[in-house]
């Protein structure tokens, strides 16, 4: 339904938006007030039972139903046709151990990373290229925001209360990427995670932060990978014996690696072996030893030159690899996983 601007009632809209703020439903930005007719369109777009329970947080006695998710997605500014992607992203997150435990309450204030593959990207206008970490694109911005509103409202996790993020992180509730399949030299991430090629699917995990690797002047795959290994191996992100990571490669970096014969598995294997620090370097930051629970802390002996690997293995669960962004520069993003990645992709189901 389209309106001429003159038919609209901005005063009523403003009052409705303020009402939503007053209820404590907002993440700080204006919400679209959800009404029954609007939410019905979301439910029709997904074709799932409104009462289906899609998330539980037993310690808080809260559940998420498809209908509650639809209300929050509508409030986030999604169009009804985005809703199957919101549900797939939510289901993908439910495969992460931390999201059904205490992850949403954590001092680390983790952010979902949502990666979308397949034809649904173009159908919805999801951005896969320039500025892929946002902002500027409605589906990317609102699908990720919908997840945040579900956590806030359906789980009742408000900052300064049951949500205890020390600082949180830039991009929380706003990281939803379409993979740049057109310029990626590798099969789609969702295919690597088991979905048939050409099927729309979503993968998701929780991040601690993102850190860029800007390397535009080497033609050597090994030099480029060494730059990633150095960034991945930084001590700051390392709190347990091992840590997982991910890389969102720009097309230029991915293509350079592919032309040197690296597929995703070869990239992971190269980086798993070389990302880390010596025990002596880790001793300098008080992280050279591990206690009985695998938590890093200062050791007794100052440390030697022995190399400690950060990634526990070259499995995809410990190093998620996607390709997104513009082909205009050699700038990629290392992402820090909150835990491991489930390695699962969820199909986008539409009736």
């Amino acid at each position: 339904m389209t309106h001429a601007a003159g038919d609209l009632d901005p005063d009523a809209a403003q009052a409705a938006i303020e009402y939503c703020f007053d209820q404590g439903w907002s993440d700080g930005l204006p919400l679209v007030p959800a009404t029954r007719p609007l939410v019905e369109k979301f439910l029709a777009a997904a074709g799932r039972s409104p009462d289906e329970i899609i998330g539980r947080l037993p310690q808080l006695d809260r559940t998420v139903t498809v209908e509650l998710a639809a209300i929050n997605a509508a409030m986030a500014g999604c169009l009804p046709e985005y809703f199957p992607v919101v549900l797939a992203a939510w289901d993908a997150l439910m495969h992460e151990r931390s999201t059904t435990g205490g992850g949403w309450q954590s001092t680390s204030g983790p952010a979902p990373l949502i990666v979308v593959n397949g034809p649904v990207r173009a159908e919805l206008g999801l951005n896969a290229t320039g500025g892929v970490f946002g902002p500027g694109f409605r589906p990317n911005a609102t699908i990720s925001r919908a997840i945040g509103l579900i956590v806030r409202n359906a789980y009742g996790l408000h900052p300064h209360e049951l949500e205890q993020a020390t600082q949180g992180l830039p991009g929380r509730w706003s990281i939803c990427l379409a993979e740049n399949e057109e310029e990626s030299p590798w099969p789609p991430l969702a295919s690597e995670a088991g979905l048939p090629a050409g099927e729309s699917g979503v993968t998701a995990t929780l991040l601690r932060t993102c850190e860029f690797v800007d390397n535009r002047h080497t033609a050597s795959a090994e030099q480029l990978l060494a730059d990633f290994a150095d960034t991945i191996g930084r001590s700051g992100a390392w709190i347990f014996r091992y840590a997982g990571a991910g890389i969102v490669f720009c097309p230029e970096h991915a293509q350079l690696l592919a032309s040197a014969g690296f597929d995703r598995a070869a990239v992971r294997s190269w980086l798993a072996e070389r990302s880390g620090r010596s025990t002596a370097e880790l001793a300098g930051t008080g992280k050279d030893a591990c206690d009985a629970n695998g938590v890093r802390l200062p050791g007794e002996h100052g440390g030697d030159g022995e190399f400690q690997r950060m990634l526990p293995s070259a499995d995809p669960q410990h190093l998620l690899i996607a390709v997104a962004g513009a082909r205009n520069a050699g700038i990629s993003m290392v992402v820090r996983l909150f835990g491991g990645w489930s390695g699962t992709a969820i199909p986008v189901i539409r009736p």
Binding site: A16, Y19, Q59, S98, E161, L162, A165
Partner: protein, 181 residues
């Protein structure tokens, strides 16, 4: 008549969880001969702090210290079988340290479950997490639930500092676990 604005919480019309409140488990008059369970949530220094408190209780109050188990997943409330083990093996429980977003709330949830199971419990929480601990108490129908607050941070304390902390907390632990105020 315009369309109503829908509530996104699923709690529209639900009464707030005031409930009947929490009736604390009956307390022993003192701790002589009492079996004290220590439930370590695996947070750094938690095991040491609890052990030190246990040692002081044994030396000064004649308790028998029983460590039933550790709570492996600090982020979630203790599973029912773990609660049962404490109920069978202990007369009173000390648990902690709540020093993260989920574990502070979970420690308070454990304290409330144990009280309702008839086991007097002292929960130790970092004072940086009072808001989330109180929010959990309210959620569990126990607004104003009394737990022990200790200065943040606990995880960086040396062994000697943890011993000092245990000494400091001891009177409050004893007061919380006995009927003698």
């Amino acid at each position: 008549m315009p369309n109503a604005i829908l509530d996104p919480t699923g709690r529209a019309g639900t009464a707030s969880a005031a409930g009947p409140g929490l009736e604390l488990a009956p307390r022993p008059a003192d701790l002589a001969g009492v079996r004290v369970g220590l439930m370590d949530n695996t947070k750094h220094n938690a095991a040491l702090l609890l052990a030190e408190i246990g040692n002081l209780l044994a030396a000064e109050h004649g308790v028998a210290v029983t460590v039933a188990a550790t709570k492996a997943n600090f982020a979630a409330p203790a599973p029912a079988d773990l609660v049962d083990r404490y109920r069978e093996a202990c007369d009173v429980v000390i648990t902690g340290v709540g020093d993260c977003g989920s574990c502070s709330a979970s420690a308070v949830a454990d304290g409330i479950v144990l009280e309702r199971a008839g086991v007097p419990t002292a929960v130790i929480c970092s004072d940086a997490f009072v808001v989330t601990a109180d929010a959990m108490a309210e959620l569990r129908g126990a607004p104003g639930y009394h737990y022990i607050r200790t200065a943040h941070p606990v995880a960086v304390l040396t062994t000697e500092q943890v011993r000092q902390r245990a000494k400091q907390l001891l009177p409050e632990v004893v007061a919380l676990l006995t009927s003698r105020q």
